[in-house]
């Protein structure tokens, strides 16, 4: 796996995500999944540059549209492994509707959300996951809105693999990414990603993330974990349901 010089800020959480993913790709390669089979798409934001840093087929789409792009890709070529990289601003703001519909369809893909709670590329405005009251450059009085709970939204929309990762725990993140790609159906990994320049949460997450010991056995338990005051990382819930491709009869697993 080759990679080129990155333009992310030193100390950015994106490095952990990139490294973990490169390790996953190497592992998949060893298992016989050739590189050409894994297609990456990324949106607009700091995260979006990841497709430039990977030696994989990719499509850097316009803001917010990774999921419908990958849906189209899977419809036309279901044999491909589709991996989406998105940001919180990209997916939970501009592209929020696509999250609901792609999860509802249970399209077989893995979605990795670089969730730093801020628009980093435009230098620090509030996004859908910015905590209420937080001062950002677009909310200098403090954010008047409640943040969304992306995993609760994904779960209620029908996502069949729900996980939370942390850019500061590469080993666990690697496992989560691997499992998400291996999962048959719509997999989302919301990755807590500190933004050193505009929302530096390294210290907070280092103190507050906690590994989930056991994934939920049903949806109610999953909701409890997601709504818990503790910030659990790990696979929260997974279930095997017919994928969109299976429902359409274009792919059998």
């Amino acid at each position: 796996m080759k990679s080129i010089k990155t333009t992310w800020c030193p100390g950015c959480g994106n490095f952990g995500i990139l490294r973990a993913f490169i390790n996953v790709i190497e592992k998949l390669n060893k298992e016989g999944i050739e590189k050409g089979k894994i297609v990456v798409s990324s949106g607009i934001g700091c995260h979006g540059k990841i497709s430039d840093y990977l030696d994989l087929p990719s499509f850097h789409v316009i803001h917010g549209r990774v999921l419908p792009f990958l849906t189209g890709l899977k419809l036309a070529n279901p044999e491909l492994k589709a991996v989406g990289f998105v940001g919180d601003g990209d997916q939970y703001n501009e592209g929020i509707e696509h999250l609901i519909h792609a999860a509802k369809r249970n399209v077989d893909l893995a979605l990795f959300v670089h969730n730093n709670g801020v628009f980093g590329l435009t230098t620090g405005q509030m996004t859908a996951t910015t905590p209420r009251g937080k001062k950002t450059r677009s909310t200098p009085k403090g954010n008047p809105e409640y943040p969304i709970n992306p995993l609760l939204l994904a779960l209620s929309s029908g996502a069949t693999f729900i996980a939370r990762g942390y850019a500061g725990d590469m080993k666990q993140l690697e496992e989560l990414m691997y499992d998400a790609i291996k999962h048959i159906g719509f997999a989302i990994v919301d990755i807590l990603q500190p933004c050193v320049s505009f929302n530096n949460t390294w210290e907070f997450y280092n103190k507050n993330v906690e590994k989930l010991e056991k994934e939920a056995s049903d949806i109610k338990e999953a909701i409890d974990i997601i709504l818990s005051e503790k910030i659990y990382t790990g696979i929260i819930y997974r279930i095997r349901k017919d994928t969109f491709e299976e429902s359409l009869g274009i792919l059998k697993y």
């Binding site: 607009i44 917010g64 929020i96 435009t122 405005q125 509030m126 677009s138 200098p140 009085k141």
Partner: protein, 392 residues
């Protein structure tokens, strides 16, 4: 008060003085700092009777100001490039609903390929929506055109959205000495918005109704009539603006040295300043060259252009956008304005796409070649590198 400020601040400050009631936007480079400055003014309590929010997308932002405007609020939003394209569906609706929303467009190239740098493709692409478009040359003009935009847009003979197009980075991020308006002057110029119809308790109306074939067409043609009436309103308000500020921007065009010019250059936006500089230098050398700056791209000033070019033999249209599959957009309009009236040579020169630098020497070369009859009329590109297309 003359102050050295950056373009985005000059725009934000003028928005503040225009006393908007609702501001809503979504971050996008190079627009972000305009609304960021407004967010700060809002946080500091400098914006009275005004709410500011960040929307979930540009589509959302345009829809929020649409809703606010429908209740009779004075509204402002700003965007660039992809953001403007995403707003487009809403903006056509706003124009059709005759809601005088004011937008600042920090002009930026559109994707693909992905670029954050300046050209005019974004705003040019929404030219048919029924939105007044003005292209400014510097940050003073950008600053001045904000209250001006509200005044024209809210005029009962007009009632159309108004777009102030400002070259991204080149103007938005540039430092410039700007004579900042004072509140009293703006208040004297711009009265509070008094909507004809709005969603309010005492006089309920239904808005956005379905128009079947027997009624649809009249609404669309009425939009066209409103745009035509906007021409006169823009002229009148430009005169008033001059009286208040002493700054004469012209109304639809600003023609300089065109009366006896052999060659006239037509352009819009920040590039005009450099062209003027070149034209003035050439005049000193005895060359009969002129400059025609187009300010209002919509409504398009066909008559004014015709008049200004009466004595001109050759016209160079310098453009920073394309209409893929036809001639460049401004060229098309200029040709249409002259057709049947005169037969100047028209040179259509596309340059500076996606922020490609346009050096002064390039402008000199373009004008000299035409002046000396070294190039044939028609469309060409300047600053284009030699490249080979891979056609499989």
């Amino acid at each position: 008060m003359r102050k050295v400020v950056r373009g985005f601040y000059a725009i934000a400050y003028a928005v503040k003085l225009s006393k908007p009631n609702v501001i809503c936007a979504y971050p996008i480079t190079p627009q972000t700092e305009i609304v960021e400055n407004l967010a700060e003014m809002y946080a500091n309590g400098e914006l009275e009777n005004c709410e500011y929010i960040t929307a979930e997308s540009e589509f959302g932002a345009a829809s929020v100001v649409l809703g606010a405007s429908a209740t009779g609020a004075r509204t402002f939003t700003a965007t660039s490039s992809q953001g403007l394209l995403l707003m487009t569906e809403v903006l056509y609706n706003a124009a059709g609903m005759r809601l005088p929303i004011v937008l600042a467009i920090a002009n930026r190239a559109v994707s693909a390929p992905l670029s954050i740098w300046n050209d005019h493709q974004d705003s040019i692409s929404v030219r048919d929506a029924g939105i007044i478009q003005i292209y400014v040359e510097n940050n003073q003009e950008a600053h001045d055109m904000i209250p001006f935009a509200f005044k024209v847009a809210e005029n009962k003979n007009v009632l159309l959205p108004f777009m102030v197009c400002v070259d991204g980075f080149k103007l938005t991020h540039a430092y410039e000495a700007v004579d900042l308006l004072n509140q009293e002057d703006v208040d004297n110029f711009l009265p509070p918005y008094n909507p004809v119809v709005s969603l309010r308790i005492d006089k309920p109306v239904a808005m956005g109704c379905y128009a079947p074939p027997p009624t649809y067409m009249e609404f669309r043609v009425a939009l066209e009539y409103a745009m035509e009436r906007a021409k006169k309103v823009i002229e009148d308000e430009s005169k008033e603006w001059y009286e208040i500020t002493g700054r004469d921007w012209g109304a639809h065009i600003k023609a300089e040295y065109c009366e006896d010019a052999e060659v006239a250059v037509i352009a819009m936006g920040s590039i005009v300043g450099m062209i003027r500089d070149v034209v003035e230098e050439m005049r000193k050398e005895g060359m009969k060259v002129g400059l025609l700056k187009i300010r209002t791209y919509r409504p398009f000033p066909a008559e004014e252009i015709r008049k200004a070019l009466t004595n001109v033999n050759k016209v160079i249209v310098i453009e920073r956008s394309l209409s893929i599959g036809s001639e460049p957009p401004v060229t098309l309009d200029v040709k249409s304005a002259l057709f049947g009236h005169s037969s100047q040579e028209i040179h259509s020169v596309v340059l500076g796409l996606g922020g490609r630098d346009v050096p002064r020497t390039q402008i000199i070369k373009i004008i000299k070649e035409v002046y000396e009859g070294k190039v044939k009329p028609g469309k060409r590109y300047e600053g284009l590198k030699e490249f080979e297309e891979v056609i499989p």
